[in-house]
């Protein structure tokens, strides 16, 4: 059965075009993908990300339990901070990519991808030594407020001092009279917040943000803009750019892998071995230098032979170039390397570029 977020009716009232996304009835766009993308880059956009899952570990030993499950290190951050991390399999590939919130050593909340919620919960339940996870996904709604005007907009609706909430930090407070976790995170490359509230409060919060954001030119934004925004930043999408078959090192996410952390973590041995032996293939960002648009699944060719595959691609609305990501052999992964992307039988030249594609001034 198709799942609906608490904001489903609100999206329909706004004239959103709805699509099935991983079993959820979600807005892909309201007006235009490019217009929504630009609103986030220049003003502020709202995303309903209530389909994301929330899994909580509460009780003595929660931090240690979660730290064994994730690749990043909760012991290196303070209460009120969050980390981006992988849930990795024994081979160092991704079960999922997640954000883990440290409320205290006895309360850790993990935000997981909607499509992986059940899988992650079962995986964590089976492997958690100590505290057992609780799936709180149905309790929470989540709204992402992203863009250069996002901080100002949220600040007008809350008494919490947001200047004290730095990147990847969060606080608990009220926004528009609604209790919320106010987290300075997001997946667009812009400043902003992800607001977690009770499912029953979502419409009130959404409407308040839309109304208060009118002077800022706020736009509700769909999955289309979310995809082009994250692609311009080379942020990985589970199922496209990262999956169970590619390791975190191959994905270029070595920075979320703390091989030296106390207690270790699932996947550590495989990654340590791969690091020692050399990473055979890497996820690169490339630009097409010929005409066309790279898309997920298109072959990557070198001298006519297939050497990899495009994992994500789009015409970047802000960078105004056809850009993409894909796994290629390590010898083609350096900046300036060239290969072809096969587009409907044509070999279109591409060059590996420095990422993110979007250079912030």
């Amino acid at each position: 059965m198709t799942r609906r977020t608490p904001l489903n009716e609100a999206h329909r009232k706004l004239g959103a075009r709805m699509v099935d996304f991983a079993g959820w009835d979600m807005p892909v766009q309201y007006s235009s993908v490019i217009g929504e993308h630009e609103a986030v880059r220049t003003a502020v956009g709202l995303f309903d990300v209530s389909h994301m899952g929330e899994i909580e570990f509460t009780g003595p030993g929660a931090l240690e339990t979660v730290n064994r499950l994730i690749s990043n290190d909760l012991a290196r951050i303070q209460d009120g901070q969050a980390v981006y991390a992988g849930l990795l399999n024994d081979l160092g590939g991704f079960v999922d990519d997640v954000v883990a919130y440290r409320f205290s050593p006895e309360r850790i909340l993990i935000c997981v991808n909607s499509s992986n919620r059940e899988k992650d919960f079962a995986w964590m339940s089976a492997r958690a030594e100590g505290v057992k996870p609780v799936d709180k996904s149905d309790d929470y709604a989540q709204i992402a407020v992203q863009g250069p005007k996002a901080v100002g907009l949220v600040q007008r609706l809350t008494k919490s001092d947001l200047s004290q909430v730095g990147t990847y930090r969060f606080t608990e407070g009220e926004v528009a009279g609604v209790k919320a976790i106010i987290s300075r995170t997001g997946y667009t490359g812009e400043d902003g917040f992800e607001l977690y509230c009770a499912a029953g409060d979502a419409v009130k919060l959404w409407d308040a943000l839309l109304e208060a954001g009118q002077p800022d030119g706020v736009k509700p934004c769909g999955l289309g803009a979310r995809d082009s925004l994250r692609t311009e930043m080379k942020y990985a999408l589970y199922g496209n750019d990262i999956d169970d078959a590619h390791t975190a090192l191959e994905a270029g996410l070595g920075w979320i892998v703390k091989l030296d952390k106390a207690g270790g973590f699932i996947g550590k041995d495989a990654l340590a071995a791969q690091k020692a032996a050399g990473v055979p293939r890497k996820l690169v960002g490339f630009e097409l230098t010929g005409a066309g648009i790279p898309r997920h699944g298109y072959p990557i060719l070198k001298d006519g032979a297939r050497v990899g595959e495009v994992t994500s691609g789009t015409q970047g609305p802000t960078v105004k170039k056809p850009i993409g990501m894909g796994y290629v052999p390590a010898n083609l992964a350096t900046e300036g390397s060239t290969f072809d992307v096969e587009i409907r039988g044509r070999a279109v030249p591409a060059v590996v570029v420095k990422t993110p594609f979007l250079k912030k001034s």
Partner: protein, 127 residues
């Protein structure tokens, strides 16, 4: 009748329009097609002089999320190509029946245009 389906054009089931102008036929995609596609970001055009076959693919329109084939409404030879679309593919969104035209064809058999749909027959296909 919707303003978005001009009465003076002919249509295909695949949401192309055809404007018969003397000896040639100008082809584009309908308002309904551009609206369904969303933001058009790339158009793969045929070459001048290419021979098109009715019902066969002659190009591709890519929007932010989709790749869609263009189908020739009639057989014939491409006598003009809208090169503006190379730099401004969004003309298909903003002016599908005007500046967003795609190609001009000289039909190999003028009788073919009689098989195209008129506005009244096309409209139900946009529901």
């Amino acid at each position: 009748m919707s303003d978005n389906i001009p009465q003076d054009l002919k249509y295909t089931k695949e949401h192309e329009w055809a404007r018969i102008t003397g000896k040639t036929v100008v082809v584009g995609v309908t308002h309904h097609a551009q609206e369904s596609l969303g933001d058009v970001v790339y158009v793969e055009l045929p070459k001048l002089g290419a021979t098109l076959t009715e019902g066969k693919n002659f190009g591709v329109i890519e929007s932010t999320k989709a790749v869609s084939d263009l189908f020739a409404p009639i057989s014939g030879t491409v006598v003009k190509v809208n090169d503006e679309l190379t730099n401004s593919p969004a003309l298909i969104n903003s002016d599908p029946y005007g500046q967003g035209w795609i190609v001009e064809i000289e039909p190999s058999d003028a009788g073919q245009v009689g098989k195209l749909l008129d506005a009244a027959a096309y409209e139900p296909l946009t529901k």
